[in-house]
Structures are given as C-alpha cells and as structure tokens.
C-alpha cells in the first residue's frame, strides 16, 4: 500500500512517496533518496519514529490540506498540492497582479481607486489585525485595475485586495 504526495512549503516543494509495510516500517522516497522509519507510536499528535539508532520525536497535526510538523523545536508547514502552482507572469511585470492580504483582519483604509497610477512603494490599502496596522504597498509601478475590498470589511489571509496591471505605454512617456 502506497501514498503519493506533492508537498509545498515556504521555500520549495517535493514529491514524496510513502509506503507503510505490514511490519510497521514506513518507507519514504524523496527524489533519489530512500529512508526507512520504524513507527514507535503515534499518540495524541506525538509521533515517534526510529531511524537506525536515532529516535525522532515529533508533534504533528493536519487540517484540510495542511500538515503541521514540529521536530526539535522547528515547525514545518506542508501544503498538500495536486498540481504545480501557476508560474509567475511576465517577468517585466512579475511583481504586478493581485495584491493579497498577508493576514486575517479588517480593512482600515483604501488608499487607491481603480484607474489610479501608482508608483513603486505607494500605499494601496491599510489593513489591521489585533490592533496592528499594516500598509500594503505597490511592489512596482502600475495601474490599479481593480479594488476588491472596502473600508471596514473583513479579510482573510490571501484575500485579494487590489489588482495591479502594467501602466499603459502612453502614461509612461517622459513628461
């Protein structure tokens, strides 16, 4: 019996193939490497594995498509992906596109309207959570093609607040 996973994390992604054998050995393959772990216990989120003469104690929890793993004071958050994430757009305008909220909270102020031409670093939206304010700024010069939030509105982490597009050619000419 086998499980195939495609995991993404902050700095990368990997295909992982796991097989749980009847003798309680988990065989894990990532890339060319193969690892064998004896499962000692999996009680209440505490997983103990034996790898040769080393015993690994980890804490773990999973919800939806996310797995949280803590080993030796470090937390690894894996997102189970089914396909590769979409590649970045046109490199020249790579920073443009949807501006997402990095946190859950509320919109305190919307600083731009659709059609506005913004400079790199210009404030777009002020969001607030837990009494902390954060100004989301334009990652590059562009034009606001859409505003998808309103002042006082609740937002999730990853909510698209503003969409930026490339500035039309005539607007970029020297004045």
């Amino acid at each position: 019996m086998k499980a195939d996973r495609f995991y993404g994390w902050q700095g990368g992604e990997a295909s992982v193939r796991a097989e749980l054998r009847d003798d309680g050995i988990l065989v894990l393959r990532t890339g060319d490497a193969e690892h064998r772990y004896e499962i000692l216990s999996t009680d209440a989120g505490c997983v103990r594995l034996r790898d040769g003469d080393r015993v690994i104690t980890a804490f773990a929890a999973a919800r939806d498509r996310r797995a949280w793993v803590q080993i030796d004071g470090r937390v690894h958050v894996f997102e189970r992906r089914t396909k590769r994430p979409r590649p970045n757009g046109d490199p020249a305008n790579g920073a443009l596109g949807p501006i997402e909220s990095p946190m859950i909270g509320t919109v305190r102020k919307v600083l731009v309207a659709p059609g506005a031409i913004v400079e790199e670093g210009q404030g777009l939206v002020v969001v607030e959570a837990m009494k902390m304010e954060l100004t989301l700024r334009a990652p590059a010069a562009g034009i606001v093609t859409d505003v998808r939030c309103h002042e006082g509105g609740a937002i999730d982490q990853g909510s698209i607040l503003v969409v930026l597009g490339p500035v039309p050619a005539e607007s970029t000419e020297p004045q």
Partner: protein, 497 residues
C-alpha cells in the same frame, strides 16, 4: 478580605489572576465575549458572564458591560489584568462609583501617571531624570514639527495613552514626521481611544530597565527590584529577566528610590512599574509608569518569592503591605519569553486560527502562564500573546539553558508563532553575554530569516503523511476541496481506526 472577584480580562493573565484569587479562597467570576465562551479563562473561574460580541470595544473594553456583570454576580472587587481597561482611570472611577473595589491604583494616581505626558512632568517634579522631549498640550502638526527640530532626530513619536509599542513610531528625519504622526495617531485612536501624542529623543544603546513597586493605603511604598526588558521587537517586549545583567546592588537601590519617589508623589497604591532607560554609563532616565500588573511580573515573583496577585488583592482589601523594604530578598535568576501568535514568514503579522495541537513542557524551574488550549481559537480581535514561559535557576546561564530547552519542547501547531525566533534570540551570543540593549533585536535580527524556507529533514515528510492520515474525516472541509482521510483512496492506513 475580598469575597468574590471579577477578572475583567482574558487569556493567560486572566487565568493567572483567577488562580491567584482562588488560592486566597476568593470566589471568582470570569467575563467573556462570544468568541471566548469556552476559553481557558472561563474554565478557570467559578462562574462566568457573557459581556458582548467579539470586538473588544463591545466586550472587554465596555465599562457598563463589566460593571453590570459584577453587579449581576455580586462581585465585590474587579481585577483588570493588563491591557483593555487596566490603565483606564475612568474604569477605576466607575468601580469606585459602583461601590466595587478596583484592584489597582486609585483613579487620581492613574490620571497623574497613566498619560505619558503628565507622568513626564510629575517625574521631573519628583526629581527623576527625564529624556529631552515634548509633552506639552498641543497636538498641532506644525507645533510638533517645530518641537521635533528642537529635540533633534532620531526621535520617538509616542501615544500619550500608549503601551506595548502601539502608537509608537521611530522618526529619523523631519520629512518622515507627518506620516509618523498620522499613523501613530490612528493606531492610538484604535487601540486606546485617545490619539494624543508626545515626542521624545530616541536614545541609542540603552537598556530598558523597570522597577516593580508596591504601595498600600497606609503610606507604605516599596520596590521589588528591576526587570531588564531590553529585548524588544518593534518596541514590543519579547524577553524579560531579573536581575538585569547591568544592575548591581547600588544601582538597584538608586533606581528603586527614584521609583518609590514618583509613586509617593502620585499617591500611588497597589502594584505598578516605573520604566527607565539605562545608558552604558549607568545613567538612568524616567520613561513612564505602568499603573497595573505587568505581563512580565512572573520574573519578579520568582526572584523575590512573592506573589504579586496576592499582594494586590490583599492591598485592595485595605491590608497594609506584609513586608518592609529591608525584608525584600532577591535570589537566583529568572528569564521570561513571550510566545505570540505571529507569522514570521509574513513580517511577524498576527496569525489567527485554531490550535490543532498544544504541548507545553513541564520541568523543574519552569513556569508556563498560558491562556490557550488545544481546539481553542486564536482570534483576530485580541492581542496575539498566547503564553509565557519563565525559567528560574540559581544562575543566569542556568535559567537561560532551561528556557531554551523549554521553548524547544513547546509545540503549538495550527497558528504561526514566534517560537523559532525566540529560540534564535536566546541562542545569540550577545544575549547570552547579558549585553542586549533595546537595539539588539534590530541589529542582530533585522534580516532574520524564518527557518521555514529551509529544506525540511526527510523525517518531517514521514510525520506529515502520518498526521494527514490520522486527521479526523470530520475536520476535512468540502469547501476547500480536501479529501476526508477515510474516503481518500490514496490513504491506505485509515481502515483500522
């Protein structure tokens, strides 16, 4: 003595105060918003009262709701904890008007000290050294700009009503001032309902050292020594210790006397903290007074053997302080680390969500003040502090080693936390040598990278797969397209459960 105490707070501090009261045989009442109906502080109390919807303004900051809850439950005293209404003189006054004991200073002392503007003036009159600044009456931007030029840059814009770094901005050039004033004012309005600001010269290379004071209604005022809270990230304290590596007995006595002087000048009662900046030459400058129990009070409790909550409750009931200055003894070393729900991958922004797993270690010399539980939610509505780990040992090195181990063994999964950051801070040679100033975090961790981008060890994948397999099907959400483990054809090891 107080018969029934209402704790007008939530989270770890509410739990800690409720327990302190119960130890004294006092009946306890918790208050909660809809968000917190099943929170740990509610479970720690004999009874609980709903005081409103999740936003703090309509619940934990609502004076009528809290006074109403005290009346409804027959509570004869209210402890405000820290944050929320703790430093609101209007609340202290409202308790007095309602015939309820406020466990804290009288409203007059809070008014004299609570606003940073007034406190600066009072400190100067009491003979305490103060930093050059502007704490006058005007909030006019042009006037502020003129004063800023006089004070010189860099300077700090501070909320007069502020605390915990909220409404505070560092300004290095004159042209940054208008934006800093606007942002600080907005943040202060949102957090404290008071947008008044003051300016203060920013001293570089200083430590933040504060003195714990205790005063009673019989005219006794003592201090319990210092806490060094120099390890701050964006003006938010994250690690505190006592004693300070930079304070010897002589300096402690001098700072203690200064703290007692301002407490006397203000007619202070109950527990409070006088904050100072300490420069490398051993000169100290008055910063502000916190008219409440501090987040970091446990380090003082550990080195003095005293219980500040007990002392506050007894004092509030009219008892004299049970000890004199010469009775205060300090022993050993205590270090505290604050665990916050913050996402280091996104600039330490608050992280919210459900706590899927919680493991808090137990070991000798370790105290954990925690306000969370597995299955509980971390809400966007409140401060992101989750818990505090406080380690004690005869020596500083011993306490540090103990705290590092405790943090390594702490697991909080489901929300992002600053645990990895704290471990790196405590592991830094500057901190280990006791050399941290308030610029330590910025200087040594300004470009700190989360470890989340590192390639995970292969066993992490193995554990992830096992965890996914063990996740309850009921937790999977159709909306996110997750496949319940039971129904997942690729999950081969579910059948036995």
């Amino acid at each position: 003595m107080i018969r029934r105490l209402l704790v007008a707070n939530r989270g770890e501090i509410a739990v800690r105060i409720l327990r302190g009261a119960r130890e004294l045989g006092i009946e306890t009442v918790a208050v909660h918003s809809d968000e917190d109906a099943d929170a740990p502080h509610v479970r720690a109390a004999d009874r609980s009262v709903r005081i409103g919807p999740p936003p703090a303004r309509e619940s934990y900051l609502s004076i009528p709701a809290i006074i109403g809850a005290a009346r409804e439950t027959g509570a004869d005293a209210i402890h405000p904890g820290y944050g929320f209404l703790a430093e609101d003189a209007g609340f202290s006054q409202a308790c007095r008007d309602a015939g309820i004991i406020f466990v804290g200073p009288p409203p007059e002392a809070m008014r004299a000290l609570g606003a940073k503007r007034g406190a600066r003036d009072l400190a100067a009159r009491a003979g305490l050294p103060i930093v050059p600044g502007y704490s006058g009456g005007s909030d006019d931007d042009a006037r502020m700009a003129k004063e800023a030029e006089r004070i010189g840059f860099p300077l700090l814009v501070k909320a007069s009503a502020g605390g915990g770094g909220k409404g505070m901005r560092l300004v290095t050039r004159g042209d940054e001032l208008p934006a800093a004033l606007a942002a600080a004012r907005r943040e202060a309005e949102a957090a404290f309902g008071d947008g008044r600001l003051l300016l203060e010269r920013y001293l570089e290379s200083v430590r933040h050292v504060e003195i714990q004071i205790l005063a009673d209604s019989h005219g006794n005022v003592i201090h319990l020594g210092e806490r060094d809270c120099s390890v701050q990230r964006r003006h938010q304290k994250i690690v505190e210790e006592s004693p300070s590596p930079a304070v010897d007995d002589t300096l402690r006595a001098r700072m203690g006397e200064a703290a007692v002087a301002i407490a006397c000048a203000a007619g202070y009662r109950s527990a409070g903290t006088v904050e100072f900046m300490l420069d490398p030459a051993g000169h100290f400058y008055f910063l502000e007074v916190n008219t409440r129990l501090q987040v970091e009070h446990p380090v003082t409790e550990w080195v003095t053997g005293l219980d500040l909550v007990h002392l506050m409750l007894r004092e509030a009931a009219g008892e004299p302080l049970p000890l004199r200055q010469e009775d205060v003894m300090w022993r050993g070393h205590a270090i505290e680390a604050r665990v916050y729900a913050e996402d280091p991958e996104h600039g330490f922004l608050p992280s919210a969500g459900e706590i899927l797993l919680l493991h808090e270690p137990r070991m000798p010399g370790l105290r954990i003040d925690s306000g969370i539980r597995a299955g509980g939610r971390v809400s966007v509505h409140y401060d992101p502090i989750l818990s505090k780990a406080i380690a004690f040992h005869a020596t500083r090195a011993g306490a540090l080693a103990r705290l590092r181990l405790a943090l390594r063994e702490t697991a909080i999964l489901g929300v992002y936390t600053n645990l990895a950051f704290l471990q790196d801070v405590l592991a830094h040679p500057t901190f280990a040598a006791g050399g941290a100033t308030t610029r330590f975090v910025e200087e040594c961790f300004g470009d700190w990278q989360t470890h989340a981008a590192d390639a995970p060890p292969p066993e992490a994948f193995a554990v992830a797969i096992l965890a996914e397999s063990a996740a309850q099907p009921g937790h999977a959400s159709a909306a996110t397209g997750a496949v319940p483990a039971e129904a997942d054809p690729h999950s081969p090891w579910r059948s036995g459960r």
